[in-house]
């Protein structure tokens, strides 16, 4: 490894990362980019612009499309140096995590030149249109129609569980382009500008009180022919590749190092009754959970090391999605029981942390549903890993 590269990165970061961007990230300051971005913290705008100019919001993407053009070792050095300095991620983006890799693999040159630089710079915020009211676990049965004519696609139907659709500029969608063939064979992957008549996004209020998801309605919405990614009716393969990325992202939710360790939380909540040590039955349950969290993090670490050494990810993402989300639910159940009456409030509480914990408990219920339910993951493991018929 070229040590002068590390030194260059280090001195550039030290010179260019604003002071407030070197403190732990807070949700209100998060930058998702796009036309509606307000940059609540002005330094976050400077930080994004400087990183984007280097292409370091997407370090490994090709320079031709605005990326950093780094090789994997260099990208690792950049990550390490950012971590060392405590730099925040300059941009959170479904464009980076989801659409970009798809365009780089399946997109035309014209599509790459048009869309990727705007993702790199955070100018356009993307959302993902997959699920529909009648197509959840059975995603391939999706119905939203895109009829192709000389002027391009005309889209009618609706998408649901679309994260942050209300704040997004564009949506990448799975649409039905042929209903006369087997369901997987008539699906296409299309990019749609949401800034046009006929598109309406309505937030869905969840049991946690938050509304991270929307239902999006499409009435005679237009997309030119060249907004098709990959072959016509060839969208299912792309969809499956993308779902693997999504599962990996969701499965790590149970491992957020910024959150308080479960035994610390429980001990604090049980302090009035002598802490965990005076509650042997409950303590055994916490120990069991703690062990599973620890063993799970070892398994994740092992998988990452093996993948780095060239093993293919295979269906491992299903295992981590299943186990990680179930574990996260168990963690919140345990926390709620430890909190007792302090887990029951909804609003008007003196302790905001209690209020948040209860909402997070409710939110965790979605983890084993979104991105493919636990039951679907078990199906995938049974068939693809274990070879059951």
């Amino acid at each position: 490894m070229n040590e002068s590269f590390r030194e260059d990165v280090r001195s550039w970061l030290e010179a260019n990362c604003p002071a407030s961007m070197r403190t732990p990230a807070v949700e209100e300051d998060a930058v998702w980019g796009g036309r509606t971005e307000t940059f609540k913290n002005p330094e976050s705008k400077i930080w994004l612009e400087r990183m984007a100019a280097k292409g370091w919001t997407t370090p490994e993407w090709p320079k031709a499309y605005g990326g950093g053009g780094l090789n994997p070792q260099e990208a690792q050095v950049l990550r390490e140096e950012m971590q060392r300095l405590g730099c925040r991620s300059p941009l959170l983006s479904f464009g980076i995590w989801m659409l970009g890799p798809v365009l780089l693999k399946y997109g035309t040159e014209e599509q790459k030149l048009e869309h990727i630089p705007k993702i790199v710079r955070g100018e356009i915020r993307w959302c993902q249109g997959y699920s529909e009211p009648e197509a959840g676990s059975d995603l391939a049965s999706l119905q939203m129609r895109a009829d192709l004519s000389e002027t391009g696609f005309t889209i009618n139907g609706s998408k649901v569980w679309t994260s942050y659709a209300e704040q997004s500029d564009w949506i990448f969608c799975l649409v039905r382009t042929d209903s006369t063939v087997a369901k997987q064979k008539g699906i296409s992957f299309v990019l749609v500008d949401m800034n046009q008549p006929g598109v309406k996004a309505e937030p869905i209020r969840l049991i946690s009180g938050a509304s991270p998801f929307c239902e999006v309605f499409f009435k005679d919405v237009k997309a030119p022919r060249n907004h098709l990614v990959g072959p016509l009716n060839g969208g299912w393969e792309i969809a499956k590749a993308l779902l693997t990325h999504e599962r990996q992202a969701i499965s790590s939710m149970g491992l957020n190092p910024r959150e308080e360790a479960v035994e610390v939380y429980c001990n604090k909540k049980l302090a009035g009754v002598g802490g965990l040590r005076s509650q042997p039955v409950f303590r055994d349950r916490v120990a069991s959970l703690h062990m599973d969290l620890q063993a799970f993090s070892f398994a994740v670490e092992r998988e990452a090391a093996l993948q780095k050494a060239g093993h293919s990810p295979g269906a491992a993402s299903s295992m981590f999605k299943y186990y990680g989300t179930e574990l996260n639910k168990r963690r919140y159940e345990t926390m709620m029981e430890a909190a007792g009456f302090e887990s029951l409030g909804w609003t008007g509480l003196e302790n905001e942390q209690d209020q948040q914990a209860t909402r997070d408990w409710l939110r965790s219920k979605g983890n084993s549903i979104e991105g493919g339910t636990s039951e679907i993951q078990l199906n995938v493991i049974a068939k693809r890993v274990l070879g059951l018929p």
């Binding site: 035994e263 610390v264 429980c266 001990n267 802490g275 965990l276 040590r277 303590r283 055994d284 916490v286 120990a287 069991s288 703690h290 062990m291 599973d292 620890q294 063993a295 799970f296 070892f298 398994a299 670490e301 092992r302 090391a305 093996l306 050494a309 295992m319 299943y322 186990y323 039951e375 993951q377 078990l378 199906n379 493991i381 049974a382 068939k383 890993v385 274990l386 070879g387 059951l388 018929p389």
Partner: protein, 378 residues
């Protein structure tokens, strides 16, 4: 932490898997049981294992060992677990070796370790007492006399004692209530006053409790220093928990793979029963649990070899987790095999029986969860 297998690891795994598949398949345990053999393992096979170097895996090179650490020995133990091999590697190559390494004087190491490497020193470890592993303070007494010590007490579940030449006995040399004042003694198995109470275990192996009645131990019988056994004992227990967990993981994996094959071949209602989602999900869940166990054992062995401070907690994690998962998989296996799973004719029942035994050795899951919580300070 090295997660990927090195070429050396792979070679060791391959030769161990082959060895146990060919020389000690599950059927060898059945034969041992049916013939009511009194030794517990085959001396020829022990010699073969010594020649392969497995008696010396954790022993440093300066004493003629392979120095592959607990990580290396775990690989072999896992392979032995796959076929439920009646092999005394755990007591002779791990427990006594670890105690000699930790507690022995320089002189004792020089005289004992080469013998252990060559497979000439067969030493069982007598530490547990009562009917619950690790629950009671040691009450076996070693009282000083003119010529040495006199030992009195009862030890439980001494692994591979009938086949051993020597017993390594943990006894109290100071009458404190806590575990200060413990010492190790090397006693001939057939010394006067040593009475082995041997019985057949549920899985067909030999179990053994030992009564010590006014057993005379000369000063040379003391391994290491008087009253200083505590640290080496704790280290041995960590090694045992990890090594046994590796063996149990091998057994659990084999039971799972056998069951999986059965799900694919057994037909009912005109289809393979493995096509039913109710059974598929159970199989998939077992697979996930096994993957967690694999990582937990590998991490614990790595931490032990590197002398990390967390290695005791990781040892408890590995033993508790694998105890629960092995028991779960063994129960599921018998259920999924259906009628044939209840028969003595089929091998799967041996796995269920083995899971019961290994669960109780070197602290059961409940014990290790409590210890883990204590070590994690909650």
């Amino acid at each position: 932490m090295q997660w990927e297998m090195s070429d050396e690891d792979k070679l060791l795994k391959q030769s161990a898997d082959e060895f146990f598949r060919e020389k000690l398949p599950v059927n060898s345990l059945r034969i041992m049981r049916d013939r009511n053999e009194s030794k517990g393992f085959s001396p020829e096979i022990w010699r073969d294992m010594a020649e392969l170097g497995w008696t010396s895996i954790i022993i440093p090179e300066e004493f003629g060992g392979l120095n592959l650490g607990l990580r290396g020995l775990s690989t072999v133990l896992e392979a032995s677990g796959r076929t439920l091999a009646p092999s005394p590697l755990l007591p002779y190559a791990l427990l006594s070796a670890s105690v000699i390494l930790e507690a022995g004087t320089a002189e004792q190491k020089l005289s004992l370790l080469p013998a252990l490497v060559e497979g000439r020193l067969l030493m069982a470890v007598a530490h547990d007492e009562g009917s619950q592993s690790l629950r009671l303070p040691v009450s076996t007494q070693a009282v000083r006399s003119e010529e040495g010590f006199v030992i009195n007490g009862l030890k439980s579940m001494v692994l591979d004692a009938p086949g051993a030449d020597k017993l390594l006995v943990l006894a109290r040399t100071r009458a404190d209530q806590n575990n200060e004042g413990l010492s190790w003694f090397m006693i001939d198995r057939d010394a006067a006053g040593v009475e082995l109470k041997t019985f057949r275990l549920v899985d067909g192996r030999l179990g053994c409790h030992i009564a010590f009645e006014n057993v005379k131990a000369p000063f040379e019988a003391l391994l290491g220093y008087e009253g200083k056994a505590q640290a080496s004992y704790e280290k041995m227990l960590d090694a045992a928990a990890i090594g046994l967990a590796a063996e149990m993981f091998g057994s659990a994996s084999a039971a799972f793979e056998m069951t999986l094959s059965y799900l694919k071949e057994r037909k009912q209602f005109g289809v393979a029963i493995g096509s039913f989602q109710a059974l598929q999900h159970r199989a998939a869940q077992m697979y996930c649990e096994l993957e967690l166990c694999r990582a937990a054992i590998q991490r614990a062995a790595g931490a032990y070899d590197a002398g990390e401070s967390a290695s005791s907690a990781y040892a408890s994690l590995a033993k508790a987790k694998v105890s629960d998962v092995f028991a779960h998989i063994a129960r599921e296996a018998v259920q999924l095999y259906g009628g044939i799973g209840m028969t003595d004719e089929h091998d799967i029942g041996f796995y269920l029986k083995r899971s019961r035994i290994t669960a109780e050795l070197f602290g059961n899951a409940t014990y290790h969860r409590e210890r883990y919580a204590r070590l994690a300070d909650f």
